[in-house]
């Protein structure tokens, strides 16, 4: 279990205010996203993991190390926080280099690693300038550079795409994917659910300090048995298909696609649904062009589980 990030029954209270309550997690390597509305406890989980706040209860271990093992932990962990503040008067280069020098490495090596990290986030030209003059996107990038400069095994990123332009966003996502493929733990919090979908191996849904669901997006979707699932079927006779499905299967909702060449069907039993759909296709009554889950993404799951107001449904 030493390759996992483990939370065992962890709670955190800020005085009488709940941060997170009885969170248990076991996170394997790969990209994991923490999803939840503002104030749901995402940052608290990340801060607990890195010892910036102490748990009121429970136990945390990161690849076998506790947050109290500061020297060992931060040799293998990089944390790009969402705090958009920096030590005064530093250039981007000094900021990254200072962080590396505190690892106790030779200056030559620190210089080489700082250079690599800054190039990796494509901030080479601005590295010599004071951070105070950086744009928000540049500040985000230099924080990311500092977090990855020492080649950590665990990378914790709190809202890392905030403030980035579309190009920088795509580059960052590509970088996260590359790091995930290399076997790193990449833990990302984000409220930009479309992006979560594309990059995450696993998702952790949290709201009001409570863990709602955890696993791959598909697994999480499976866990939501009581929630009907929506499927988009592209076909030549969507009305006929909808009528057939309603007659045989317990579909709970049907809605024609705007272009009239498909239908959204909502079912409570997806296995039976596909079996019946195959039968209809085999009968040749309807020519089916494509079938795709319409809500098997994080956004839909999130809406199901948490509701638009951020309260558990």
């Amino acid at each position: 279990m030493n390759d996992r990030i483990i939370f065992e029954d962890v709670s955190k209270f800020y005085g009488e205010v709940l941060g997170v309550n009885r969170i248990s997690l076991s996170i394997p390597p790969g990209i994991t996203t923490l999803v939840g509305p503002n104030g749901s406890g995402k940052t608290t989980i990340m801060n607990l993991m890195t010892g910036l706040v102490q748990p009121s209860d429970g136990h945390i271990s990161v690849l076998g190390l506790t947050p109290a093992d500061q020297m060992e932990l931060f040799s293998i962990l990089g944390y790009c926080t969402q705090f958009d503040f920096f030590p005064r008067g530093l250039t981007g280069w000094q900021f990254v280099l200072d962080g590396l020098m505190l690892h106790g490495m030779e200056e030559e090596m620190a210089v080489a690693l700082a250079g690599q990290a800054i190039e990796r986030v494509q901030l080479g030209d601005a590295a010599g300038r004071k951070i105070a003059g950086y744009s928000k996107g540049m500040r985000q990038k230099i924080r990311l550079a500092q977090a990855i400069a020492h080649h950590p095994r665990v990378l914790v990123l709190d809202e890392p795409l905030n403030g980035l332009d579309p190009m920088a966003r795509a580059e960052s996502i590509a970088l996260f994917q590359e790091l995930g493929r290399q076997g790193m733990h990449v833990l990302i919090s984000s409220h930009i659910l479309d992006e979560v979908d594309r990059i995450a191996d696993r998702v952790i849904l949290i709201t009001g300090g409570y863990l709602i669901a955890e696993g791959s997006i598909h697994q999480v979707r499976q866990e939501v048995h009581e929630k009907p699932m929506q499927v988009l079927i592209r076909c030549d006779h969507p009305e006929l298909l909808a009528a057939k499905m309603f007659a045989i299967n317990h579909c709970v909702e049907a809605r024609l696609h705007a272009d009239g060449k498909g239908v959204f069907l909502r079912t409570a039993d997806i296995d039976q649904f596909y079996s019946i759909l195959n039968g209809i296709a085999a009968d040749g009554l309807v020519k089916i062009d494509a079938v795709a889950p319409a809500d098997d993404d994080a956004n839909a799951i999130y809406q199901y589980l948490i509701g638009t107001e951020g309260s558990p449904s």
């Binding site: 910036l52 102490q54 931060f74 005064r88």
Partner: protein, 288 residues
């Protein structure tokens, strides 16, 4: 059993990465000095340190300096050290320098960068304390040396003779020792107060009050004071009238070595408690 346990503990201590901690502490101190030694925000502290220097300079330029007045000027210099530097200049200067080290970073929301580095928090705290001490000693030490030089410069050959062939050099060494100990003592206290209170200024005012009334407290309570130890190290006794007399009361004679050791012990206790506090320090900028 106890001996075995002690031996285990000693072996455990010897196995700690002292070399790495030392290297990290040096680098942290360097970073801190680069950031904080010269800063516009600290201008008021420079003024605090060099106000007497300016006054003594004027005195040197416009005053008359017959050689028989050396004794009087020596007493004035001793008064400046004891009544101004120790009571006000170093006190408030250290409040400004040391309360910024942790609390200032909390207010600027940049402390987490240090706490997320692979450095033990105790090493971080002690390195910051070292950086603050170097800044304070550099500033107030320079001021004392300048004050001393200017005070006797006006006397010409008699002044040189007093410094190099008389008691002058010994007095300067004593003043420098007092300033170093004052910076370390007040520094440790204000570093701790800045971790305990969001705004350490009211607590510092209480500390100032405590230091002021300390000479009339019972002898046990006198030991919990920076100024009480420093009084015993003064090379020249300062006589004062009125309210100032309270600041120069010496109730219980203590040798210089005992005073120095006592103050260093007090500093060690305060720093040890600060190390304990920083172990459990949480980053909650929203409450700052």
């Amino acid at each position: 059993m106890t001996q075995l346990r002690l031996a285990d503990r000693a072996r455990e201590l010897a196995q700690q990465p002292w070399g790495l901690w030392w290297l990290q502490a040096q680098r942290l101190t360097r970073i801190e000095l680069r950031r904080n030694l010269f800063s516009w925000k600290a201008t008021w502290i420079y003024c605090l340190a060099f106000i007497p220097t300016v006054i003594i300079s004027i005195h040197m330029l416009v005053g008359r300096h017959p050689s028989f007045a050396i004794g009087e000027d020596t007493n004035i210099l001793a008064g400046i050290v004891q009544l101004y530097y120790i009571r006000l200049g170093v006190f408030f200067g250290c409040l400004g320098i040391f309360s910024r080290l942790i609390r200032g970073e909390m207010i600027e929301r940049s402390l987490h960068f240090y706490l997320l580095s692979p450095v033990r928090r105790e090493v971080l705290l002690l390195a910051k304390f070292a950086a603050g001490s170097i800044s304070a000693v550099f500033l107030f030490g320079s001021a004392i040396v300048a004050d001393f030089a200017l005070m006797y410069a006006g006397f010409g050959a008699a002044g040189s003779d007093y410094i190099f062939n008389g008691p002058g050099m010994g007095q300067l060494q004593a003043y420098l020792l007092i300033v170093v100990l004052a910076c370390l003592g007040y520094g440790a206290v204000f570093l701790l107060l800045s971790m305990m209170f969001r705004n350490p200024a009211p607590a510092a005012m209480l500390a100032l009050g405590w230091e002021t009334i300390n000479p009339v407290l019972p002898s046990l309570l006198q030991k919990i004071s920076v100024a009480s130890y420093l009084r015993h190290l003064m090379p020249v006794a300062v006589g004062a009238d009125g309210i100032f007399a309270l600041l120069t009361v010496e109730t219980e004679p203590v040798s210089g070595w005992a005073a120095t050791a006592g103050l260093l012990g007090l500093i060690a206790i305060v720093l040890a408690y600060s190390c304990y506090r920083i172990r459990t320090l949480e980053i909650r900028y929203s409450t700052e």
